[in-house]
Symmetry: C2
């Protein structure tokens, strides 16, 4: 074992590929008539593109969605050389973002064009290459973030000279209330999307993400794209019952101390003991993605039971009140589950007042050690 893995000095992330495959199949099962793409932006929500993309590819995933060109090249780098011939498509959500169509074409990437300002870069492509450049286009149906708005649709009509140079593969939109597809605003966005795309050149359409994919076939169109659902982060009630957690994070106890009444625990006196207490210090802090707002709230799991956080969250440590355990039960070197099978990610996130993906994306990306492991090991670890 390496020196680093022998040390109990920082958090470790486990990635359960069995759960990832389960979630992939669950999503495929709810939208059998549609292609399912994997959203792997932000290094696959922190889990590591190299950990999940080759697996998803093996299970049949052919469409990968990222935000940036960096991320797209990272996806490309961990797939077979002949992947394009086998149907690989890498869709870049932030659009061309200053690059040329040729830059994208050279690497086999498809931009999701972010608005009319990106059209000029396509002009003359067909003349230069004797073929059209394949693109996806984002339509802004109500999120006000990226895409063509209602006033800009005229530029996309079938007669537009744009289509001399570009070939639309996919129309894309994104819901403002993505967590709640039943909301009236979402229904309106869908209506707009259907109405708009009916007037535009025919292509596949993509609306559904990790919540709306579970909201019935009316959302599925030809392509769905899911990140959170694959990674076991349920968005909405439907998803929670069906998905398995993919990521689990544990952190070691560094020290256990018995302290007397009136003792301050952690910075700035944010917690003062109301009597004799036993405090465990765990090597997990905001620098590892534990939310800074977990001051005297939330729990980590120690020896199978929730131990309350006391004091605040420092860069690399947090305190737990372990007075409720038997004397000697909690020892330095034991591992606390930050989230996983015993404490769902979303439980910790709710205590902190943030979205579950905030905890996942930060803590997974910042974990000093990430490795693949099975569900049994995941449970034993904590």
């Amino acid at each position: 074992m390496s020196l680093q893995l022998a040390a109990h000095d920082g958090p470790r992330l486990c990635i359960d590929l069995g759960a990832l495959e389960h979630n992939w199949q669950v999503v495929r099962g709810v939208c059998p008539g549609s292609r399912v793409g994997a959203v792997v932006k932000n290094d696959a929500y922190g889990l590591g593109v190299s950990n999940v993309v080759p697996q998803l590819w093996q299970w049949g995933c052919r469409d990968f969605w990222v935000a940036t060109v960096d991320e797209a090249l990272a996806v490309r780098a961990c797939l077979p050389a002949d992947a394009r011939a086998a149907g690989l498509r890498i869709l870049v959500l932030n659009g061309l973002a200053g690059l040329t169509a040729e830059d994208f074409a050279a690497h086999g990437l498809t931009p999701v064009l972010a608005g009319p300002h990106e059209l000029a870069a396509l002009t003359g492509y067909a003349a230069r290459h004797d073929k059209r450049f394949p693109v996806a286009l984002h339509l802004d149906t109500g999120l006000t973030r990226l895409g063509f708005g209602t006033a800009e649709l005229a530029q996309l009509q079938s007669g537009s000279r744009l289509w001399d140079d570009a070939q639309v593969q996919l129309w894309v939109t994104h819901l403002g209330r993505f967590h709640d597809p039943e909301a009236l605003q979402c229904q309106r966005q869908r209506e707009r999307f259907v109405q708009w795309t009916a007037q535009l050149p025919r292509a596949e359409r993509s609306v559904a993400t990790s919540s709306s994919v579970f909201a019935g076939p009316g959302w599925h169109f030809e392509q769905v794209r899911v990140g959170s659902a694959l990674f076991g982060v349920p968005i909405g009630a439907h998803a929670a019952e069906l998905l398995q957690p993919v990521a689990s994070l544990r952190a070691p106890v560094l020290r256990v101390a018995d302290v007397s009444e009136g003792t301050e625990v952690g910075y700035a006196g944010s917690y003062v003991t109301g009597g004799p207490r036993r405090i465990a210090t765990v090597a997990m802090g905001y620098g590892h993605g534990l939310p800074f707002s977990l001051v005297n709230c939330g729990h980590l799991i120690l020896a199978g039971r929730p131990a309350p956080i006391v004091g605040g969250v420092a860069m690399g440590m947090v305190g737990l009140d372990v007075s409720g355990y038997a004397p000697g039960e909690i020892q330095p070197g034991m591992w606390a589950e930050v989230y996983g099978r015993q404490q769902p990610l979303q439980t910790l996130a709710a205590a902190a007042g943030v979205a579950a993906n905030v905890v996942l994306a930060l803590s997974a990306a910042l974990a000093p050690h990430r490795r693949q492991c099975g569900a049994a090991e995941t449970m034993e670890a904590a």
Copy 2:
């Protein structure tokens, strides 16, 4: 230029080494009688050990403080092979954490022992190696996090058999109100530290960190250790006037859109326009360390002026209201300063209700591009 750097699709961090050197000299200037060590845990607060440690070494820094063995090995790897002979000391704040004294000795690392449970690992060291093992020891004078408490001091007395095997180099404590050394609790911690160490084997002592180093010579003892101050994050009023920001972060505008009254901006309808507005979408989100709590509060700097955040913070994007700019003034591809010389890190952090180091440690670590640059470039960038 690489494809990635040509694209305006994600945030970029600049590290101003001139400012780092300035801050290093400022700290050295306020405690001329003490050794100054650099705290470079968490990959140098996200700035990158390889970016800052070789420079600090060149300027005369010989003591580097980290939390974990991983981090210690990363520091060691970017310094000259003969650095130990030239006085290098790497202090590991989380202690042995399950490793042996031999593990630490093999790599020339000094553990800061975290409590009595770490003493057993030293037993027999002298017999095995015919010399004593050099250690630092943490004393818990009031933070209740790591170290030996008052009831555990007996094990550290001069007559203890511990000192057959170990040689104390440094006594260390950490203030609970580190940001406010004038607080009564800090004074009491210092009193305890002086009283305790007077009864223990003589060694250098270290209390002061980035705020207390500016609070007068009574705090300096033989060694101070600073992280935030070096990296230009002022902790306390004294520091703010003296330090220069080292990190600056900018993010590109992806799209600018004119929207009508009653338009929702961003997820969940957290912002609805009260009239016609122009909204810029910037490629900076919580997945890059922008605090999730910046919902309709805080600003980024665009074209030299603060542009208010509207709506919430998504994984990779945030919206700004740029209605106050001239038509056409804000264009996709422009860079917004997230923090830097125009907007101090601590201003953004305050708007979000978090400590400045939370923003620094997360956003610097997660920036897809980090590079060294001068102050002039830093300002021009935004």
